[in-house]
């Protein structure tokens, strides 16, 4: 049977067919649905980890204990996981282990567009690159075989288009793979210098064997058509190349992309007149092919910035220009993502934005949207967990040079568990008067509501221990802690004023669930249900637009009546706008 699946769903099927026993991940677009789907399978232990380093370490432990394991993350997550990855490459596996890196060319939902293929070369491990959903399934099965045969973790490199595009997948049979026996082996798994020196030599030998495999395997396959143009390509770019050139060119399709099949490439190059290397992002293959003395055309024509598509390739290599419908799309107002109506972050950012002489170090999550118009409450966003640590470093400099500036580091609950905890520990240890704010919305919001150590449920929705954030903050060494309701502006204002009086670390925790979250019984008891909406009293509204400064999408200004209107379809009655109105023209109705 054939099913239309996303690449992420296909990986899940592959994990089942390959008898993978353990899977872990930290959510991150475009990788998140891999674990969400694996969790539906009772044969696989599947877990959210607090961060990517923990995720890969648990998968490494599972492999060493003898169970096939998988670990998934977005590309920047691999930076967090790089420490164990680089050394696990030395020890190798017991049962097979695959690390899925979901890259995001075009930055659909990321802070950079790094090309993680370099991690395979850097760590000296095997790499597979599926180009559609069928390959995403099949290659997971193959990755396990390669991992065990060549004693290497496998980097499984996907991209947004492979993860999130649907194509037809034909299922295979499940392979019943017995657990491998665990045998204590210090010469393999105890990476002290004396052991690692030997393992490095062994690793170089494994790479030679992998290159021989790369030249033989049908994962790297030549399709002969016309020999005037030869194309070497991998991943989504291969599909685009086929779209553009069809049968007018010959292809060497690379599925096993590290080590590259250099002998196969050389033979292919000799038989074609012009050789193009078509790859998304960096010249990963091209550099190696050119270093091997093989002439080819790549990044001098094809951009390394942004996502590729057939149009870009056709224009770059064939000079193809299309006639398009003439339309000035600049005239169409943008539609950026915004904090939802009723978002608990809105009230906090509204008050924070009023403070003068502050630098707001942000983090990765929905609250990054607090930096947009009209709230404009953000100075920086670099990576997960950086809010508090960057705020600390900046505060130290402001203090050293006697500048009248305070820093406020803003992160979410899941970000706090990810790496924000370490940053806050540093603030407590190295004493700065940085203000740290943990926007606890009781869930991992931006990636679509994944459970986390503070939410009370596991990936499968089973009840588990709820980490007490205030207790944890206290244990990290913070003495000054305030917990506030972010929908109560007076409470937020007082907490910020309170924090600004201290010459030592303070933490403000805003506690209110994400407006889109399905409330648990515990949530219902603590926060109640959303009842009623806000309504503008047109008699009282003077059209001052103060309420519009909250940036709530339920509010709009009617130019004819010069009054504000509230969309009852969106309003949940959070009452933030009501508190902002100077004329008390907004009331809550239907309570």
């Amino acid at each position: 049977m054939k099913e239309l699946l996303t690449g992420n769903e296909a990986v899940t099927r592959g994990a089942y067919e390959a008898s993978i026993a353990y899977a872990s991940a930290y959510p991150g677009t475009p990788s998140t649905e891999i674990l969400e789907n694996i969790a539906k399978n009772k044969d696989i232990i599947a877990e959210w980890s607090p961060n990517e380093k923990v995720a890969i370490e648990t998968a490494i432990g599972a492999s060493i204990a003898g169970g096939r394991s998988l670990c998934a993350m977005k590309m920047v997550g691999v930076n967090v996981a790089a420490d164990p990855l680089m050394s696990f490459a030395y020890s190798g596996v017991n049962a097979g282990m695959v690390l899925i890196s979901a890259d995001d060319p075009g930055l659909h939902s990321s802070q950079n567009e790094q090309d993680n293929r370099y991690y395979a070369k850097f760590a000296k491990i095997a790499m597979l690159e599926p180009s559609d959903s069928q390959e995403s399934k099949d290659m997971i099965v193959t990755a396990m075989e390669i991992s065990e045969k060549y004693d290497t973790p496998v980097l499984f490199r996907m991209t947004t288009r492979v993860c999130h595009s649907k194509s037809l997948v034909e299922f295979g049979e499940r392979q019943e793979i017995a657990k491998k026996t665990y045998v204590k082996n210090l010469q393999k798994f105890d990476l002290v210098p004396a052991v690692s020196r030997k393992l490095h030599v062994i690793l170089e030998g494994k790479l030679k064997e992998l290159e021989a495999f790369s030249n033989e395997t049908s994962l790297n396959v030549i399709q002969w058509n016309d020999n005037k143009i030869g194309i070497i390509s991998a991943g989504a770019a291969y599909q685009y190349a086929q779209e553009v050139f069809g049968t007018t060119a010959s292809y060497l399709k690379i599925g096993f992309s590290y080590p590259l099949p250099m002998e196969k490439i050389r033979a292919f190059a000799q038989k074609v007149e012009t050789l193009y290397v078509i790859e998304e992002l960096e010249p990963f293959m091209e550099e190696q092919i050119k270093a091997a003395g093989i002439a080819c055309i790549g990044k001098e024509k094809i951009p390394n910035c942004g996502e590729l598509n057939p149009e870009i390739i056709a224009k770059a290599l064939l000079g193809a220009e299309k006639t398009l419908i003439a339309v000035d799309t600049d005239l169409v107002p943008g539609r950026p993502p915004i904090l939802c109506a009723g978002c608990p972050h809105r009230g906090f950012f509204y008050e924070l934005a009023k403070k003068k002489n502050i630098m707001i170090t942000g983090d990765i999550g929905c609250y990054g949207l607090g930096g947009a118009d009209p709230l404009n409450a953000k100075d920086t966003c670099i990576c997960m967990g950086a809010a508090s640590s960057m705020g600390h470093g900046a505060q130290k400099i402001f203090n050293k040079f006697n500048e009248n500036m305070r820093t406020v580091g803003v992160m979410g609950d899941s970000t706090f568990f990810h790496t924000g905890m370490n940053s806050l520990l540093n603030v407590a240890y190295n004493r700065s008067n940085t203000i740290t704010v943990i926007l606890d919305n009781r869930i991992t919001g931006m990636t679509g509501h994944q459970e986390n150590p503070g939410s009370g449920f596991t990936l499968q929705g089973m009840p588990t221990k709820i980490v007490d954030i205030p207790q944890l903050v206290k244990a990290l060494g913070i003495d000054n802690i305030k917990i506030v309701n972010p929908l109560n502006l007076q409470e937020v204002k007082e907490a910020l004023d309170w924090a600004l009086t201290f010459d030592e670390p303070t933490v403000i925790i805003t506690r209110w669930p994400c407006v889109l979250k399905k409330h648990s019984e515990k949530d219902k008891n603590e926060f109640g249900n959303y009842i009623g909406t806000c309504k503008v009293d047109e008699e009282k509204c003077i059209g001052c637009k103060m309420c519009l400064k909250t940036g709530c999408p339920a509010l709009s200004f009617n130019k004819e009546t010069k009054k504000v209107k509230i969309d009852v379809g969106q309003c949940v009655g959070c009452k933030v706008c009501l508190q902002v109105c100077p004329k008390k023209a907004i009331n809550k109705v239907g309570e």
Partner: protein, 193 residues
């Protein structure tokens, strides 16, 4: 069946483009086509602009539709049609929901909702304007406007020989089947330009 056809659905996060594309792709697979579909997830839930691209034919390579390649553009929101218009083939068709959702720059008064969008588009390509949200509201639930638009698209793309009503029934909750089938019928009987 050799030529690849391209359907581009555009709208705003939360408008139900995903359900429409799920029904569409299920039907196309049942009809024996090779199908590829691309959606970008991530921040769409937060009110951003969303697209779903569906390509079908005997053999499909790229999952994405380039500019100037769509046979039909279905806009769930009016000004989104203008934003994506140059993805349409010059002789392609547009189906537009006559329904405006102001975006953030409009809500805070920095920009105005563009005027005369429908007239601009009508002057360039074959355009069908449907009051899908109103039709759905009259049927009992404004959210079913996605299936009204879907019905009109099925007619415009001459895909009426697929058993859509059964597929809709398989893809929505039991209590919403009747509503969605009615919405589909309302769409498929629309007057397509």
């Amino acid at each position: 069946m050799s030529e690849v056809k391209n359907i581009l659905l555009v709208g705003v996060g939360g408008q139900g483009t995903i359900l429409a594309s799920k029904i569409l792709s299920t039907g196309l697979v049942e009809a024996g086509y090779d199908v590829k579909m691309s959606e970008v997830h991530g921040m769409a839930q937060r009110g951003g602009s969303v697209t779903t691209q569906v390509r079908y034919g005997e053999k499909v390579f790229s999952p994405i539709i380039d500019k100037g390649q769509a046979d039909i553009l279905v806009a769930f929101e009016t000004m989104e049609a203008l934003r994506w218009l140059d993805y349409l083939k010059p002789d392609g068709n547009v189906i537009i929901n006559d329904y405006q959702i102001p975006s953030a720059p409009i809500l805070i008064g920095k920009q105005d909702y563009p005027e005369g969008v429908l007239e601009t588009i009508k002057s360039k390509v074959g355009t069908t304007v449907i009051k899908a949200s109103e039709i759905a509201k009259d049927l009992g639930n404004v959210k079913a406007m996605n299936v009204v638009l879907f019905g009109a698209m099925v007619k415009a793309m001459k895909l009426t020989n697929i058993s859509w009503e059964e597929i809709i029934a398989d893809n929505v909750k039991t209590k919403f089947i009747e509503l969605n089938v009615k919405a589909f019928k309302a769409g498929i009987t629309a007057d397509i330009k």
